[in-house]
């Protein structure tokens, strides 16, 4: 589905990613983990076109997408959430989710200005889709609220709904449970499993090991910009290199 092949990225001579390769399988949940500064967010940025790799390539569904501008990558069906929420504070919850359908709303300025029946019907259908997405994440009640007055957990769910509403081929979740409490984390885990059951492909970047172990099919471990391990959650848990990266040379996992 998505193949990352020998990607390198340097920031002013400091390697943030060096020679990283891994693949995502269709319909599976892959987790990208690693200590702080391991290069996880840089990796996501290189996949989504927010950042451009210095070397290597990224293939999506057999197509080379390295260096494509972010909006073209998004139009291929890759959607994402952000580590520090990027919602649109001026808009209501429903409008934020509708923003996930911006492209499906048509790009013609004239069509938008004149709003002929064709456009009007399309808008109605998109609205129904957005309402369905709100319903799925239990946000129906909050539809008309401006997002900046919502609780943090609710805002995280709005961003998730915005990423899912367009029914993308691949969803990248950048720390979906950071800052959430135990209960909310459990809800997100359930939602991730539900997405997988529906056939979605997900890439999960996360610090919460518990969540990663519970929901992923495959785990890729980054450390210092290198890919040090990959495998099923159990394999990765037992890998001495991973233990070393997380706990230091002398550490041991009980």
């Amino acid at each position: 589905m998505l193949d990352v092949i020998s990607v390198c990225r340097n920031f002013g001579g400091l390697p943030a990613l060096s020679d990283v390769s891994f693949s995502l399988q269709r319909g599976r949940v892959t987790a990208l983990i690693g200590p702080n500064g391991a290069g996880k967010t840089t990796m996501i940025n290189c996949i989504t076109g927010v950042d451009i790799p210095d070397a290597g390539r990224v293939d999506f569904a057999g197509e080379d997408i390295t260096g494509l501008p972010a909006y073209r990558v998004a139009r291929l069906g890759i959607s994402r959430t952000f580590q520090n929420l990027k919602l649109f504070p001026r808009l209501s919850v429903i409008d934020n989710v509708l923003c996930g359908l911006t492209v499906q709303g048509g790009q013609s300025m004239l069509g938008a200005l004149l709003r002929p029946p064709r456009v009007r019907n399309r808008e109605r259908r998109l609205r129904l889709r957005a309402m369905a997405a709100l319903d799925r994440f239990g946000l129906t009640e909050l539809a008309d609220w401006p997002v900046d007055v919502l609780a943090y957990g609710d805002r995280k769910r709005v961003e998730l709904a915005r990423a899912v509403v367009s029914e993308p081929r691949l969803i990248l979740l950048d720390e979906p449970v950071a800052g959430l409490n135990h209960e909310e984390t459990a809800t997100v885990a359930k939602e991730i499993r539900a997405l997988r059951a529906q056939g979605y492909t997900l890439l999960l970047v996360e610090h919460d090991m518990d969540l990663v172990m519970r929901v992923s099919d495959h785990v890729v471990v980054l450390d210092g910009g290198r890919c040090i391990a990959g495998g099923t959650p159990d394999e990765v848990r037992r890998n001495p290199l991973v233990l070393e990266a997380y706990l230091g040379r002398t550490g041991a996992l009980a």
């Binding site: 989504t48 076109g49 927010v50 501008p69 972010a70 909006y71 998004a74 139009r75 959607s79 994402r80 952000f82 990027k86 919602l87 649109f88 504070p89 001026r90 808009l91 209501s92 409008d95 509708l98 923003c99 996930g100 359908l101 911006t102 492209v103 499906q104 709303g105 048509g106 790009q107 013609s108 300025m109 069509g111 938008a112 200005l113 004149l114 709003r115 456009v119 808008e123 998109l126 009640e141 909050l142 008309d144 609220w145 401006p146 007055v149 915005r162």
Partner: protein
């Protein structure tokens, strides 16, 4: 649902349509009861400014950009129509379209490089453009009439029927203004409009949702410039006279003040802002002499205390109330 709830729901659902309806009725009837030509001249000016401010609001309020040069595009519309109809004998209606097209081309030439800039730099670039155009208007006597202005611009007409009185112009100007407002309302409820709102909110997020931000910026800039140009043409034909003073950089600042006072990202706020800042000086004499200072003061105060502008600030407040009320009911 009881009757009261149903009425409230109906009002909420059709608020835009109902506002347009109420406003057009008011505008249709009021000059018959209150046909003072001086007042009509003033409200006609408000109608014209509303079109400019609407375009600027789409650019500043919705798309989150800044232009301190819109008076220049307003000038290109006005002087374009004046020169084409008087000097070159083009019919007024096609002249308006030609001028709008030409101004759109200028907007593309200016916009494609300038819109790569952000914030203060974009403000400076557009301000500079305004100064250039203003200087041209003052210096190029043979074409523009120089500092003393350009007189004798013909009225618009359908055959022999001319828009030559303030009353007739009232209906022309406000029909145009209402049409523009409705187009604006359509735009902001569309995919393109959401793209603009996304762009204003966060460019990286907008791109990650598939919005080609660079292209979107240029498109909305051209649209807003075309509106300014149309308003300029309308201004020339309404008042029959144009002079450079109407189009200086302080006029651009006034337009921005109207956008901010009316409310960033509010279509109706554009009307409100244009009306308030055009009316106020008529009531308060101090305004006339210290206009620029007072407008600057208003701008700063609104930005400090109601950063979304008067109308948008109040609407947001009522939206939270409405959502709370709905939630309590549910």
């Amino acid at each position: 649902m009881n009757i009261r709830d149903r009425i409230l729901y109906f009002l909420d659902l059709h608020r835009n349509g109902l506002t347009v309806l109420a406003l057009s009725l008011l505008l249709a009837v009021y000059p018959l009861a209150y046909g003072n030509p001086y007042i009509l001249g003033l409200t006609n000016l408000i109608g014209i400014y509303t079109i400019v401010v609407l375009g600027l609001n789409l650019f500043i309020g919705y798309a989150g950009q800044i232009s301190l040069g819109h008076a220049a595009f307003f000038a290109l519309g006005a002087y374009g129509s004046a020169v084409l109809t008087v000097k070159w004998g083009v019919w007024p209606w096609p002249a308006i379209a030609l001028v709008a097209l030409a101004t759109a081309m200028v907007a593309l030439l200016v916009g494609i490089p300038a819109l790569r800039l952000h914030g203060h730099y974009l403000a400076m670039a557009t301000l500079g453009f305004n100064i250039v155009i203003y200087t041209v208007l003052v210096q190029w006597d043979e074409l523009t009439g120089g500092p003393s202005g350009f007189a004798g611009i013909p009225a618009l007409s359908f055959g022999a029927w001319q828009f030559d009185s303030d009353l007739k112009l009232h209906y022309l100007v406000w029909t145009a203004a209402l049409i523009c407002l409705m187009l604006g309302l359509n735009l902001v409820r569309s995919g393109v409009g959401r793209g603009l709102a996304a762009l204003a909110g966060d460019e990286v997020a907008a791109r990650s949702l598939g919005v080609d931000t660079r292209r979107a910026k240029v498109k909305v800039f051209v649209l807003s410039v075309v509106l300014a140009s149309l308003a300029g043409s309308l201004y020339a034909h309404t008042f029959g006279f144009v002079s450079p003073d109407t189009f200086g950089i302080f006029a651009s600042v006034d337009f921005v003040t109207m956008v901010v006072v009316g409310g960033l990202g509010s279509v109706w706020g554009s009307l409100f802002g244009a009306a308030l800042l055009t009316w106020l000086p008529e009531f308060i004499d101090v305004f006339e002499s210290y206009k620029d200072i007072i407008h600057g003061l208003i701008l700063v105060l609104v930005l400090l205390f109601l950063p979304k502008g008067l109308v948008t600030g109040l609407i947001d407040l009522s939206r939270v109330r409405l959502a709370r009320w709905r939630q309590r009911r549910a």
